[in-house]
Amino acid sequence: MNNGTHLPASNEPGTLYRNPGGRRKRHAIDRLMNFVCCGSTALLALMVALVLYYVAAEGLASISWKFLVHLPRPVGVPGGGMGNGILGSIIMVLMGSALGISVGVPVGIYLAEYGNGNTGNSIRFLTEVMNGIPTIVSGVVVYWLVVVPMHTFSAYAGAIALAIIMLPLVSRATEVAVRQVPQSWREASIALGATPARTIWSVVTPGARTGIITGALLAVARIAGETAPLLFTSFGNDVQWPTHLGMATAGLPLQIFVYAMSPYSEWKSQAWAGAFVLVMGLLLLNVVVRAFAGRSAISMQG
């Protein structure tokens, strides 16, 4: 109780708390932190703007139709392009996506429908482990698995490396989408006598369709920009178009990398052009995803 030390009697409410100076300071701190946090966000926005600006400015300066359809030419010879890289990327991304999606979606479905036991949890854990594997390590692994036995670099190897990266992304997106399908739908289907297989095929998967497609497209966007997996698998090719899938194949990110690191300003310009094409492609993909899913949904976990 109040033993009358240095506290005023508290019959008058609020006597302890009249301190306008203190309050001003608290408001000032509040405003300051608001400013700091706003500034931080603005700083991040500035960074993105800077990157995209330079890609656009430098890229547009160097790009031409020739760039898109020509093979690389030696330094000093005008008119070279990254046509084979663009084509190679498209091929490998398509193949990798086909593989990654066709394996990733069933895994996701499994985890969502049957994955609550120990087995499921272990597999889910491993999926997340896979997600954390650095892409270059995946490239090294596929090198040993595919390139060495085949005695050649190939688009197959590149695609497989990309598929490995895609797998956990697609799986997670699928699992999330399938888990959001209302349980009552499954129950209704089973109650009508359908087998689980039929239920999944006809009821659950269609219901999760949007989420699955969104997740798949985002994963595609992710692997389209990957370089490290291609380094030791498709290896890159400076001289020819991909005539068959079992040869060293150029990839756009890979060519950008090589050209950027070169000492030739001509090639550096082409690197910008390549980056521009790559970013444009990704933006396009993102627009498609947005239109499809109705909101920007680039996964942070990618």
Binding site: M47, Y54, E113, L126, P134, I136, G225, A275, M300
Partner: protein, 319 residues
């Protein structure tokens, strides 16, 4: 639908909140799904197997001293990972240093302080940061940011404080410092997004209770919301660290690729990922390749550990 009471089948019965309750034996369809699921196991096991198999000769030959030796010389067959471990640690630490404050403040702003009409656009911007491919960051970093940093930060600091070990020596545009800054930019969207989600899920009633008592918004954040989110935010930071360590291409393009350990941040360096990029296809002798594989194994282990730790800290909430 029957629910089997047979004990031999009960362990297969699943009563799932979000799935199919089947007391029945699995038929072909289910087994197919399981087979697909095991592909994950297959891939992970294969990865580990190949890494170990490739690294084994080097592991046997150099032992644990591998991680503390600095010397990396294919000619004399002396291999030590210290240089690259140093480079990876320094660049990642710098990345965290530069990124954490900004990222968490940005997360706070997006989750709590921004006016509603600003949240979506700013969030989109942060997501854009994550969508830029690594090689594009590398290109921009090399051709735009590195010269700028050299001119406006490294050289001035170097001339002002030449004796200070971190700023000393001869500064280069491609350096540990540059790599650290670039990595900071690259990992911020991840730290920001995960932190933002964690903060958003902190209870609204906490905020109401404290503001109802007369706290300012910032005071409510500082005394209640941040402490409640601290575990998740820490997890976000660990996630960022893991990504920084695993990031290869952009770092390779700006770190200078010089195998050395110097005190100066402005000196070029070399990271685990970068040496793999540059030397993997050049490895002429088996033991050389094996040493590189051991580096890959190290990189794998570190990244996976960080990722796992982050998941545990952040929990299932991380999307």
């Amino acid at each position: 639908m029957t629910t089997a009471q047979d004990p031999s089948k009960t362990r297969r019965r699943r009563v799932l909140p979000g799935g199919l309750s089947t007391g029945q034996r699995f038929h072909l369809f289910e087994w197919t799904l399981v087979a697909f699921a095991f592909s994950i196991v297959l891939v992970t096991v294969l990865t580990l197997f190949i890494l170990f198999k490739g690294a084994w000769p080097a592991i046997v030959r150099y032992g644990p001293a591998f991680v503390v030796h600095q010397y990396w010389d294919p000619v004399s067959e002396h291999f030590g990972a210290l240089t690259y471990i140093f480079g990876t640690i320094v660049t990642s630490a710098l990345a965290l240093l530069f990124s954490v404050g900004v990222s968490i403040c940005a997360a706070l702003y997006l989750a709590e302080m921004a006016p509603r009409w600003l949240r979506a656009p700013f969030s989109f911007v942060v997501e854009l940061l994550a969508a830029v491919p690594s090689v594009v960051y590398g290109l921009w970093g090399l051709l735009v940011m590195a010269p700028w940093l050299y001119r406006y930060i490294e050289s001035p600091l170097n001339s002002l404080f030449p004796r200070f070990p971190l700023f000393g020596g001869t500064p280069r545009a491609t350096s540990l410092f540059t790599a650290g800054v670039l990595l900071a930019i690259m990992i911020s969207p991840f730290i920001t997004a995960v932190s933002r989600d964690v903060i958003l899920s902190a209870s609204r009633t906490l905020k109401e209770g404290s503001i109802g008592l007369g706290a300012t918004h910032w005071e409510a954040i500082w005394t209640l919301i941040l402490p409640a989110s601290s575990r998740g935010i820490f997890g976000a930071v660990v996630l960022g660290l893991g990504r920084a360590m695993g990031e290869t291409m952009a770092v390779t393009m700006v770190v200078g690729n010089t195998p050395q350990i110097k005190a100066s941040l402005f000196a070029p360096g070399y990271t685990l990922g970068s040496v793999l990029v540059n030397e993997f296809t050049e490895a002429s002798i088996p033991i050389y390749l094996s040493a590189l594989m051991e580096l890959g194994l190290l990189l794998f282990a570190v990244s996976v550990l960080m990722n796992a730790a982050a998941r545990i800290l952040v929990g299932r909430m991380a999307r």
